[in-house]
C-alpha cells in the first residue's frame, strides 16, 4: 500500500470515528432543565417502573409537579442497593431480598412502598420429563439458586412448607447465566427463579413450575425503597410516586395487550414468553402496611436462621407508613 493511500484511509477512519463519537455525545447529553428537581429512580428491566417509563405518562405528570424523573437501569438488586447506599439514586424498585440483605449490612434505607407479587410466576422449575412431580421427589436432587436472592428464599420456604429439611436437596449456587446453561444441559435437576426467566424456560425448555411462590409461601413481592434521609425529607414526593405509579399499574392490569407489546420490545423476548408472564402477574404500587412488613421480616428471620445473613434485621424500624 502506498503511503498516500494509507494516510487517506487512516484519515477517513478517524473522521468516521470522531463523527460517531460526536453522535454518541449528542445521544448522551441530557436536556437538563435547571428549574426542575431531578428525581432518580432505579429500576430493572420488565418491572413496574419499566412499564411507567415505557408508557411515558409518569414522567409527564411528575414534570408538572416540578420534578424531572431520571430512570436508571440496573442489572440486579445488589447493584441497586449499592447505588442507593451511596446516595446515587432516590428510589429503588427491588425484589424482596435485596433490601433485607442491605439492612443487615447496615445500609440506611427506608421502605416507602410495596408493589405487586410474582407469586404465580416464580418458583422452582423442572423439566416436564424429569419425573419430578412433587417437592418430595426433589429429595437428593440438584437445585440451582443464586445466593442471597429471592430464589434462595423460595427454596428455603418451599422446603419448609413441604416439611423437608434444608439438607434434603443438593444446593447448587450459580449466577443467572451459568444456571441457565447448567439447567438446559441437565447439569442441575431444578432451578429456582422468577419471571420472565421462568416463563422463558417453561416455553423453550419444556419445563413446568414444580411449586410456585403462592404454594411455597414466598410471594416474591417488589418494594420501593429510599435512602432513609431522603425518605424522611420527601414524604410528599413519595406520595406522588405512589399515586402516579399506581395509575400506571392500574392501566397495565387493564391493558395487557399494550403492556405485552411494550415489554416484548423492551425485554427482547418472544411475545409468547411475555404473554405468559403478564397474564399471571398483577401490577400495583401501594403504601406500606403490616402485612408487607411481616413478609419481609419472615425473609430476614429465615435468612438469619439459616446463616445466609449474619445479622438479623428488624424491618419494622425502617418503614415509612405514609398517610
Amino acid at each position: 500500500m502506498t503511503h498516500t493511500l494509507r494516510k487517506t484511509l487512516l484519515f477517513i477512519l478517524l473522521f468516521f470515528w470522531i463523527l460517531i463519537t460526536v453522535y454518541g455525545w449528542f445521544q448522551i447529553r441530557e436536556e437538563s432543565n435547571p428549574t426542575l428537581k431531578t428525581v432518580t429512580i432505579g429500576f430493572q428491566a420488565g418491572d413496574e417502573f419499566d412499564i411507567a417509563k415505557s408508557r411515558g405518562k409518569f414522567a409527564t405528570k411528575m414534570e408538572k409537579k416540578g420534578y424531572k424523573v431520571k430512570f436508571k437501569e440496573f442489572q440486579n438488586g445488589a447493584a441497586m442497593m449499592q447505588a442507593l447506599a451511596t446516595g446515587n439514586i432516590d428510589y429503588a424498585r427491588v425484589g424482596d431480598t435485596p433490601p433485607v440483605s442491605a439492612l443487615a449490612a447496615g445500609t440506611k434505607l427506608t421502605y416507602v412502598a410495596a408493589g405487586g407479587t410474582k407469586e404465580k410466576g416464580s418458583g422452582i422449575v423442572v423439566k416436564k420429563n424429569s419425573g419430578i412431580n412433587s417437592m418430595a421427589d426433589l429429595k437428593g436432587k440438584r437445585v440451582a439458586y443464586t445466593k442471597g436472592t429471592s430464589s434462595q428464599y423460595m427454596v428455603l420456604r418451599a422446603l419448609k412448607t413441604a416439611g423437608l429439611g434444608i439438607n434434603d436437596i443438593k444446593w447448587v449456587n450459580l449466577d443467572q447465566d451459568a444456571a441457565a446453561v447448567a439447567y438446559s444441559k441437565n447439569k442441575v435437576d431444578a432451578w429456582a427463579n422468577w419471571d420472565p426467566t421462568v416463563a422463558q424456560v417453561e416455553i423453550t425448555e419444556n419445563s413446568k413450575l414444580l411449586v410456585n411462590g403462592q404454594q411455597a409461601g414466598a410471594v416474591n413481592r417488589s418494594f420501593i425503597v429510599s435512602p432513609s434521609k431522603f425518605a424522611k425529607n420527601h414524604q410528599s414526593l413519595s406520595k406522588l410516586v405512589i399515586k402516579y405509579g399506581e395509575q400506571d399499574m392500574h392501566w397495565a392490569n387493564t391493558h395487557h395487550k399494550q403492556v405485552i407489546k411494550l415489554m416484548t420490545k423492551e425485554l427482547k423476548l418472544s411475545k409468547k414468553v411475555v404473554t405468559l408472564e403478564i397474564e399471571r402477574r398483577t401490577f400495583g404500587i401501594y403504601k406500606m402496611n403490616d402485612k408487607y412488613v411481616k413478609e419481609e421480616q419472615e425473609i430476614a428471620d429465615m435468612f438469619y436462621q439459616s446463616g445466609v445473613l449474619n445479622k438479623q434485621a428488624t424491618v419494622a424500624k425502617h418503614v415509612d407508613y405514609l398517610k
Binding site: H3, R6, K7, L9, L10, L13, L14, W17, I18, I20, T21, V22, Y23, G24, W25, Q27, I28, G42, A45, F71, K72, E73, F74, Q75, A79, M80, Q82, A83, T86, N88, I89, Q176, D177, A180, V181, S184, P196, T197, Q200, T204, L267, K268, L269
Partner: protein, 259 residues
C-alpha cells in the same frame, strides 16, 4: 518472464487471503452445526441469526445509538487518560527529580486492578458518565505512561552525546532526538492502551447504565438473548480489530524510517 510476474501476483493476493481463512472456516462450521441441529439454536444461534439481529437493531436505531455512546465514552476516556499518562511519562522520563517524586507512586497505583476501583469510583463520582469515563481514563493512562517513560529513559545515550557535541540546546534535543527516538515505544503503548480502552469500557458499562454496547450485552445476558450477546461480542472484536488497525497504521506512517 511474464509467468513469474503472474505467479508473484497470485502469491501476493494469496498472502492477503491467508489471515481470513480460519475465521471464515469457523463461521461456516458454526453455521453448519446450528443448521444441522447438532447444537440447539437457543444456546448457540447461527451466524445468520446474529446478522439478522444486528440488522434489526440497526434499523431500530438501538445499535447505532449504543455504539455511538460507547465510542464516545471510550474516546473521551482514552484522550484524557492518554494525555495525562503521556505528559507524566514525558516529565518523569526527562527529569530525575520528577521521577523520584512520582514514579514509585504511579507504579504502585498501576498494579491495582481496575475492577477493584469500582466501589471507590462509585463513591467518589457516582454512577453517571464521569465514573465510566474516569475508569477508561485510568485504564488507558498506565500503558501510555509506562511506555512513554521507558521510551524516553532508554534513548541511546550515545546519540544524546552526539547531539550535545553538535551544540543542540535542550528544546531542540527533545524535539529532534529524544521524542523521535522514544516514539516507537510510545506508539506501542498507544496501541496497547487502545486494547485496554475496550476491555475497561465493558467493565465500566456494567456499573449501571442504560446505554452502550456493554449494557446491550449485560441486558441480553439477563434474558438469555444469545443472539444479542454474540452480536455484542462480535462488535467488540470488530472495534478492537479496527483500533488495532488504526494504531498499526500510525506506526507505519510515523515510523517510516525504520524501513
Amino acid at each position: 518472464m511474464d509467468n513469474t510476474i503472474i505467479l508473484k501476483k497470485i502469491n501476493f493476493s494469496f498472502r492477503k487471503i491467508i489471515p481470513w481463512i480460519i475465521p471464515i472456516v469457523i463461521i461456516l462450521f458454526w453455521q453448519l452445526i446450528v443448521s444441522v441441529g447438532w447444537v440447539s439454536a437457543t444456546i448457540l444461534p447461527s451466524p445468520w441469526d446474529v446478522l439478522k439481529d444486528g440488522a434489526e437493531l440497526t434499523v431500530s436505531g438501538e445499535l447505532p445509538k449504543n455504539m455511538g455512546i460507547s465510542l464516545y465514552r471510550a474516546t473521551v476516556g482514552f484522550v484524557i487518560g492518554g494525555s495525562i499518562g503521556f505528559v507524566l511519562g514525558f516529565i518523569n522520563g526527562l527529569s530525575k527529580i520528577a521521577r523520584l517524586a512520582f514514579d514509585s507512586t504511579v507504579q504502585m497505583l498501576r498494579n491495582i486492578p481496575h475492577l477493584a476501583l469500582i466501589p471507590l469510583v462509585i463513591l467518589l463520582m457516582g454512577i453517571g458518565e464521569p465514573a465510566k469515563i474516569f475508569l477508561v481514563a485510568i485504564g488507558c493512562m498506565f500503558p501510555i505512561y509506562i511506555n512513554t517513560y521507558h521510551g524516553i529513559i532508554s534513548v541511546d545515550q550515545k546519540i544524546i552525546e552526539m547531539g550535545h557535541a553538535y551544540g543542540l540546546k535542550q528544546s531542540a534535543m527533545i524535539r529532534k532526538i529524544v521524542f523521535p527516538a522514544a516514539l516507537p515505544t510510545i506508539l506501542m503503548g498507544f496501541r496497547y492502551a487502545l486494547g485496554v480502552m475496550w476491555t475497561t469500557l465493558i467493565v465500566a458499562e456494567t456499573i449501571s447504565s442504560s446505554s452502550g454496547i456493554g449494557y446491550m450485552a449485560t441486558n441480553a445476558e439477563q434474558f438469555m438473548d444469545m443472539k444479542t450477546i454474540i452480536l455484542c461480542i462480535l462488535i467488540y472484536a470488530l472495534l478492537g480489530k479496527l483500533s488495532d488497525y488504526i494504531a498499526k497504521n500510525f506506526e507505519i506512517i510515523f515510523l517510516e524510517w525504520r524501513g
